[in-house]
Structures are given as structure tokens and as C-alpha cells.
Symmetry: C2
Subunit: 369 residues, 2 copies
Amino acid sequence: MFKIQVQDKKSSARAGIQKTAHGIIKTPFFMPVATKGGVKHISSIELKQMGVHALISNGLILSLTPGLEVIKKHGTIHDFMNFHGSIFTDSGGFQIIRETLFISISDKGIIFKDLFNGGKKILLTPEECVRRQNILGSDVAMCLDDMQHFGNTKEVYKTALERTHAWALRCQKAHKNRKQLLFGITQGGTCLDLRKESCEFFAEHPFDGYAIGGLGLGEGITNVNKVAEISNEYLPKDKMRYMMGIGNPSEIINAVSRGMDCFDSIFPTRNGRHGTIYTGKGRIHLKNSSFRMDTKPLDSNCDCFTCKNYTRAYLKHLLKQNEMLGLRLLSLHNVHFLTKLMEKIRKNIIAGEFPAFKKSMKRYYEGID
Amino acid sequence: MFKIQVQDKKSSARAGIQKTAHGIIKTPFFMPVATKGGVKHISSIELKQMGVHALISNGLILSLTPGLEVIKKHGTIHDFMNFHGSIFTDSGGFQIIRETLFISISDKGIIFKDLFNGGKKILLTPEECVRRQNILGSDVAMCLDDMQHFGNTKEVYKTALERTHAWALRCQKAHKNRKQLLFGITQGGTCLDLRKESCEFFAEHPFDGYAIGGLGLGEGITNVNKVAEISNEYLPKDKMRYMMGIGNPSEIINAVSRGMDCFDSIFPTRNGRHGTIYTGKGRIHLKNSSFRMDTKPLDSNCDCFTCKNYTRAYLKHLLKQNEMLGLRLLSLHNVHFLTKLMEKIRKNIIAGEFPAFKKSMKRYYEGID
């Protein structure tokens, strides 16, 4: 299902292909987040047009609203969203840190408050989590994991790790959709020995691919780098590695050089809505007064819809007035930028020029090593 | 500048052409509202693609934010918004009913609180109003008017009327942009004798076109019909008639049959955001539970982006979750619907079938007479 096409000689970066029921994803790649079935401000058709080949949605939330029967009536989640690329569904483990949803956790599963249906309690077991994703018909289902906040004690991470491993095996057993891949999620917080233990567990218990969970929670780029390194060392090389919640250009570039293949994050759309814009020459903050009279596009080398049609001054004005059109145009640019960045990274890996490309980005994005 | 192509034989409806510095507008037509330079959720390029040939923006507000110098740096308002169809700019008279902006009014002009620049007071005289619009470079500038709330006494409307007329002449004198048309605005509230007086004033003092102001404020369709009738009778036939603030299909169809040519309203986008959707067979309210499992498009005969790609169930779900993508897709459909409705109206006038078309719409839209 996953094939490495080119292994970079000077780093662990690799260019590959992941097959899913909906085609081929060229790796490394970035997935925009469509938690409730829609990426903020950007339609599935537009995403496809800008070269997005995979999205991540949330299996738990979609099963609660609009509900499995509504999506089933359409066919699969692809038909519901009208996105016929690859769709990943997250399991619900991430929702442990949502205080409004989470009630309690035990070895049985997670008890959530179903805010979408009057607040009634629901028990999400690993089996139930997989059953829901099976029905949604995503290309890649994620195992239910016990994901804890950044900054916990090692004991907390250790308990979560063991539960995550036990649940992964239960998920595997419950998994019935033959067209759907099932990815394991490694945990361990920022404790590298636990991360190693988690990778070794999954090396012994093969899944279709592996996610590195519990990141993007404020742990900082140095920790992300270290977790990527240990995951690269101990996870099977011949399967895809998906760093969940990682979406800054610098974090992505560092992680690719450490053998990571896949990323997702709400950062590009959220940053866009706040006026933090990615360009080929670093971030700009559109709220700065210096852009008030600036008739240049956001990024002169970008061919996205926003850059082809609107000036920084116009976009800054819309942003300042909180006009929905502005938030949309800025989100669109940032998602386009990250999509094209991934294409550039891949091209450079294939051409044997990834280390040079990485070096060239250092002056523009802080944190690249 | 305005030419009637076909005058309907059984009603006062007419199909015509209005020339502006940016081309030709086929009448009757509807203008989406871009008060601050952007239609909610929909870009200028998309509007052009769906057949929108004219927009209305607000000269006062754009002159305050981002400021005249920013727009001038781009060229005209067309370059700023990247919309190269016709752009109308409203004068600021409408902002009298905005309690956060309005301070006081006298024969001199209107004193506003400039909320966009620290709340300082500004005096908008008719001359200053025209100067600002001259610089913005819109195709059609509107005279400064004294527009009062619906439900006032006749005395209030009478005073407002006289001020509006005096200001119109001052606007005409101050108007220096030869490429820009200047439209007079009639007032008079719902008092038909005042409406007649206002029309007669403008018949004696010719402008490039005439707007019927002070409507769309809760006066109801019967009042709108009556004001349209009296305006049709007493305004010059050979100039365009623009009913400001009118945007419901039934009001538009009635007004067209009474010789009105142009409309604008925030209704299609606002209704869209609230789930009230126009279709060829009447309105639907997407919040109704009956649409939960509905895999049909909003309108089976519509070829807009939304109807081509998404189901009612998907859109209902996005709307319920307040997802920006949903609000956008629904706004897009409604603006598309009204644009196509105007094209259909025009086609039917030209074919001599407008009365039959009007009749056929009666069963779907309440209020059509």
C-alpha cells in the first residue's frame, strides 16, 4: 500500500506513494482539516483544484452530527462532502482534551457528552469507534487512542500509552471494512523512552500505517524534532508515518528530513483568519500598518486565487473589518501555500536536492535546523 | 446613457440598457451589496462569473476605511475590489439610521461619528459626499439624501424631502468626475403625495438616473407597490429607476411590472446565512428537519456551484454547525438565484411574456399581484 520511491541520501526524507481506495497520495503531503465535514471557508471542489489529495475529518463528530444514517444515505463520507480524493477520519481520541465533550476514561473506553444531541452520555469503545469509521467509509481509519495534554507526568503518559496499545489491538480485531486502511497511533508525550516503547509495540503489531499522536499541543519544535527522530528510528520504514497536528512550515520541513510523510493542522486556516500569512519568503502579519497601502499580492510567486486577484491592502482592509470574504481569501492562500510547499519538498527529494532546499528555507522560517 | 429596448404592452415593465464607464448593464437588474468593498463570502471574480454586472458599495464608509488614499493608490474602486463591471456608490444618507454612526443632521449636512478612526466627528456635506465619490471613481454616484426611518410623521418626511432636494442640487453643482453618472434619490416615506412631489422635483431637475430611497425598512410589499406606482407615473420614463433596498423576489417582480429597473439588497446573502433559500419553486427553510436526509440539491433547476456540488443534507449540516463553508455556499446560491431571476425577467419582457411569467411565479412567491 505504501511505497518509497526515492530515499534521500543525506537525510531520512523520502518521497513515496500511498495507495488508498480513492487513489494515490504522493508523499510527503499535508491534509487540511475538515473536522465537521467542511474545511473552514474552502469547498471540497476548490481543495481538489488546488492539488489537495487528502483531507482529515472526525469520525466521532460526524457520527454524532449529522449522524451515520445521513452520511450513509449519501454513500460514503466522500459522497457527503463531495470530495473524491482520500479521506482520513480521526477516532475521537483527540477530543479527550475538549473540556466541553470529555467526561471520563477507563480501560473500557471514553465517555463523552454528546453536545450535538442534547448532552446525553455516550461510551466510545475502541470497537464502537471502528464501527463508526467503517460505516463512514473513509480511506484511512484511525485507532482510538488515549491522548493526554502536553506537560503531564511520565506516569500519566505511561498509562495512556498502555491503554492506547491495548485499544489498538481491539480496534484491529473490530475492523471490518476491507476497503479501509487502519492506522495505529503512537503516544508517549514528550518522554522519548515511552515514544520508543510505543514505536516498538507497533513494529511488533503491524498496522497499515502509523500516526504519531499527542503533538501540536504547545510542546515546541525541539520536542517535535526529537519525537520525529525516535519515531523514524523505531517505526517500520516501509509504512507511512503521519505526524498528527503538525502544520507549521518549519516543523514540517524538519520532520520530513526525519522520515515523516504526512501532516495535518488547522494552522493554515486559523492563521489565515488572524492575518498570519505564509509566503515563500517567510510569514507576514497582515495586521501590520505597513501593508495599508501595499498593492502587491500576498506572495508575488504564488498563483493561488487570492494572489492572482487581490492586493495586500484590499485583504488587510477586509480582515480589519472582519469581512467573511477576507477570512476566506486568506485561508485559501495559506492552504494553497502549504499544499505547494509539500509539492516542492517532494520534487526536491526526488531531485536529490532536499537538503539544499531545506537550507534555503532556513533564512525565511525560524526553527528549521 | 439609458435606452429602453422593449416596453411591455400589458404592464409598465421595460427591458433596457444602461451605459456606464465600465460597460453596459442590461436592465432590469439586481446588485449585490458590497458596503465595505466585499460582498459577504463571495469574491468579485465569482460574482462576475455568475453574471453579476453591477455592485453597490458605500462611498462614505470606504472613504473612512481603508480611506481614499488607499483606493486611489490602486486606481479606482474597481481596481481595489478587482471588479471591472459597473460599481455604484451610496452616499452615506442611509447611515442616518445607524445609531452607532449618526450624530445629527442640519441643512449643512450630516454629522457622523467616524468609528473607523477613533470616533472623531465628521461633517458630511453634499459637496464633501460627492467629492469622496468622485475620487473613488465609481460608475454611479448617489446624491446625499436625508433618509428617515419607516413609520415617521408626514412632517418628518416633508422636512427630509426638502433637504434631500436642496442637497441634490448642491451635489450636482459639486460633481466634477465626467466619467461618473450622478443619480438623484427621491424620498417621501410612505406618503404618496410627498413621493409625487419628489418625483416632480426630479422631473424638473434632470439627473443621470433616479433612485427611490427610504424603502426596505419594514414598510411591507403593499407600500412598496404603491411607491413604485407613483414613481413610475411621475419620474421621467427615459431614465433608469433604482429601488434602493428592495431585494425579495416578490417585491422585485411587482416593481418591475411597475416600471422599475434596478434593485439592491443584503437579503440574498443574509437570508442565505440564516438558511432561507430561494428556489424556482419558492423559498425553503433549510433549518427544517425535513431536509436532514435530503440528498437533492437546493434547487434541481439551478446550475450554481452549490447546487452542482452539494446536497441539502450536507448544507443543512454545515449551517447547523455554523461552518463558514455552509454560510458561503448558501449565500452564493441566493445571489446566483436572484441574478438568474433578473435574466429570466428580462428575457420574458423581451419575448412579450412578462405578464405570464409574473403569473407563473405567483404560486411560489407570496405577495406577487
